[in-house]
Every structure is written in structure tokens, then in C-alpha cells.
Subunit: 142 residues, 4 copies
Amino acid sequence: MASNELLRRIEASFALQGLMRVIEARIAEVSPGRCVIEAPFRKTLTQQQGFLHAGVLTTLADNACGYATLTLFPPGQEVLTAEFKVNFLRPARGVLAIARAEVLKPGRTLTVARAEVWMRAEDGSEMLCAAMQATLVPSATA
Amino acid sequence: MASNELLRRIEASFALQGLMRVIEARIAEVSPGRCVIEAPFRKTLTQQQGFLHAGVLTTLADNACGYATLTLFPPGQEVLTAEFKVNFLRPARGVLAIARAEVLKPGRTLTVARAEVWMRAEDGSEMLCAAMQATLVPSATA
Amino acid sequence: MASNELLRRIEASFALQGLMRVIEARIAEVSPGRCVIEAPFRKTLTQQQGFLHAGVLTTLADNACGYATLTLFPPGQEVLTAEFKVNFLRPARGVLAIARAEVLKPGRTLTVARAEVWMRAEDGSEMLCAAMQATLVPSATA
Amino acid sequence: MASNELLRRIEASFALQGLMRVIEARIAEVSPGRCVIEAPFRKTLTQQQGFLHAGVLTTLADNACGYATLTLFPPGQEVLTAEFKVNFLRPARGVLAIARAEVLKPGRTLTVARAEVWMRAEDGSEMLCAAMQATLVPSATA
């Protein structure tokens, strides 16, 4: 599929996710088997110590894995998360969260993907804050 | 610790979480080693097929595990999530999400907790939609 | 299915697992959606500090989850593990390891099961040493 | 630490693991933050369909993560697995299982490592069969 078509298809699905607007996330890059999603640090999305909430890092990583997987599906299919595991490696501080996912093993029934969530500081440096390993399955379109 | 004191302590930490206001979550119950957190279904918190987003279910389960763990810590300590794994069992539809967590094994360094997220329908029936197993660690207060 | 038939079917699959003989494991109980597998503590199965190796606890828990799942499948199907997550809660010392599994959510494609591995001491007391959450899928018979 | 010293230290711990002899595993490579462990395919280590048992792949990956972590600890410390998650990507057939691990995030309390288990066929080609993400903690020497 042409890269523009792929991006349009992923963005069409992404736009249906209410939660992505709430956390101001956007798709930064997409290519076959890969997806990068970014969201700005917001005080409204913190845990009790002022870091970005584990739930937000997880949401970004989950979506990056989901759309990295969807790039490998034929048009007209959607993707669901069967399960994931996340390690939180450092407190998530900075100005931008960047979830980078790639498919480790595509499959007709089960796809396994990994994502890493990096926090970018004001000076442009990045720290790895979370690592996800996820299993995704195809589903009918909504 | 008296139960009222425990609830006050958990709610004080909870109130510092910006994300909890965004998803309109509230602590429904807390007792030593246990915590229940609820949040209403909102269209703003959905994935692309109109179900509550996996990231929201995860956020609720994570917080329920975290506060179930915090009930066992001495006052003046906070809790951080080291890692978790979640299985998503059914699409999350209904009017209320209820995350019920309990500590499986407390520890000075590592605490292991489990949470289940149930979706309550308008008729009051509940379906199990997600199951988490998490590792939590103590941290200094913010 | 009659309980004897169920046990025979599970034991027929179990007997095909070379690894079960190596760790001297046996099926202690089986009923629809549940399975208990036991194995004696052996010095040959330890890690570097003399405790039962995490890999052995995991093998027992994995098999207990697998056979708990297989009880819910029609005859002529086999089961494969898609993934699992295990927390190790305490060093595994004692005379007998007992893995108790139950299906949390059966499914045509994905089944989610949980297992706990307990170590029984000489005095008959038991300690919870590991907790697994697993995803299983049907597969063709060998 | 000199590389020979590192290898000696890892092998001294490895030699204490009864289970490693049972599965005929050996350390193939070790360097700071990395470890490779190999074991031959044996019919005695299979599941019911004749593939290498998930428990064996997990044992190899767990040990590779553990020793990748131990390379970063000061002499006189041991390492324990707090938890791991494994996805099984393909049936494990071939002549040799190779678990390659690296530390993703070292830490004083928690270290996060990843391992991949590859099966090598007779023709030398390799297939990725399992992927682990693990959390490890220091412990006193035995």
C-alpha cells in the first residue's frame, strides 16, 4: 500500500478514539510494521508525584503497538489488544512522550509487538521510561 | 490505622493525580490490602470501536493496585508501579467501570497485587473485562 | 464429559510431554476449567541458591494452565501457550511444588487462565511462591 | 572487570544450578549487560506435540536475563528473578535453542532485561521462537 494511503487509514481509525483527543496524542510516523505516537506532557495527566501517569504511557504504547500491527492488516480490518505487559523504567518527566512500536512477529491470529516510551526534555534529550510487549488480534471494523 | 484515616490518606494521594479527574474516577472502597476504584463510561475515553479504551481500564486497575498496596505502607510513603501485565477479556461497554484490587504478596521492596476490571451495565449486571497482575515498589513522598 | 474421560484425555496429552517425566510431575486433579499438577522438590532442578528453579515453577504453572484450558476444548483439539507472565513471590523451598490453575475467561480463540504455585513443607504447611497469568490458544492435535 | 573474570564469575553461579545440567545448557557468551545461553534440542524436553517445551525456552531466557544482569552487579552479589513475561512466537523445533539477553535498564533495586530465544535448524538458519521481558533484583550470595 502506498505510504500515504497507509497513513490515511491509520489516522482514520485513530480519529475515532476519543481518548486520543483527551491526551492530545498524534501519530508522528507510520510505516509497515511500525508506528510512532506522541503526546505532550500535561499536568492534567499526572500521577500523585507530578510525573506522567503510568496509564498515559501505557495508552500511548498500546496504541503504537496497535497501529504498528494494523499497518500489516488488509484494509477493512481493525485490531484489538489481547494483552500487554509494561515495565516502568524511570519517572516520566519532560515535555513530550514518544511511543515507538514495532511488530516483532506478525500472525493471522496473534501478532506480537513491542513499544518503548521515551520522554523528551526541553533540551531535546530523551530518556527511556517504559517498555511494552503486547499481543494483538484482528477484529471486525466497528 | 483506623479505617477513616486510611481512606483519608489514600484520597489525599489520589487527589494529586490529575489523570483521575480527567477520567472522573473515584475511590469506592479501601481496606487493608484492598482498593476499589470506579469511573463512569464516557465517549471521550473510547477506542476506535466505541468501547472504553484499554488504556483507561489499565489506568483504573493500576491505581487500584497502587492504592491497595499503599494501604499496607506506613504513612509518609508513596508507591510506584514497577510493572504490570493486563489481559483484556471482553470489549468494555456499559455505564460504569469498577477496578477491584487486592495485594497478593506484600513485601518491603516488592509488592505483588492483582486487579480485575468489571463493566456494570444499566441493568446492574457486571462483566469481567480486564485482569491485571502488577509489581509495586515504595517511593519517597512527592 | 464424564470426569474419568476428562482425566484420561488430559493424562494422554500429559504423557506425551517428555519434560514432565524429567521433573517427575503428575496430574493431581482435573475438573472442567481447573487443573492441579504436582512435582517433588529435587536437587537436580534447582537454581544457584538451592531453591527450585523459576523455570520449573513456570513449567508446572504453564502446564496447569494449559490442561485447565484443555478441559474446556472438544476432544481432538490440543492447546498451546501464547504467552504468560509470572511473579515469583518467595524462594521455592519445601518437599512438593503444587501448581493450581483455573480458567478465568474461556474463548474460542483466546483463553485466559491463572495459576498459583505453592510449595508444601514437610509439616504440610504451604507457601505461595509464584503466580501466573496466561493466554492459551487451540491447536491441531499432534 | 576483565572479561575472563566476568565469565568465571557467571560460570561459577551457573554451575550451581542443577537444572542447567538436566537441560544440558551452557553459557555461550557473556559481556557486560549481555548473556547468551544455549541448549540442544532433546526429546526428553518436549511438550505433547514434540516441540521444545515452553518451560525450557523460558528457563533458558530467564537464566540469560539473570546472568546478563549479574554481569552488572559487584562480585559477591547474586540475582533473583522478580517476574517475567514471555510470548511464544513459533513452535520450537530445530537442533539448538539459543537465548540471547540484554539489560534494558540497570538499577540498584530493579533491573529490566529482555531475552529472545532462537531455534537453530540443521542448516544453520534460525527462527525467533520466544521473547521475554523480565525484572530482576539483587540478592545475597547463597
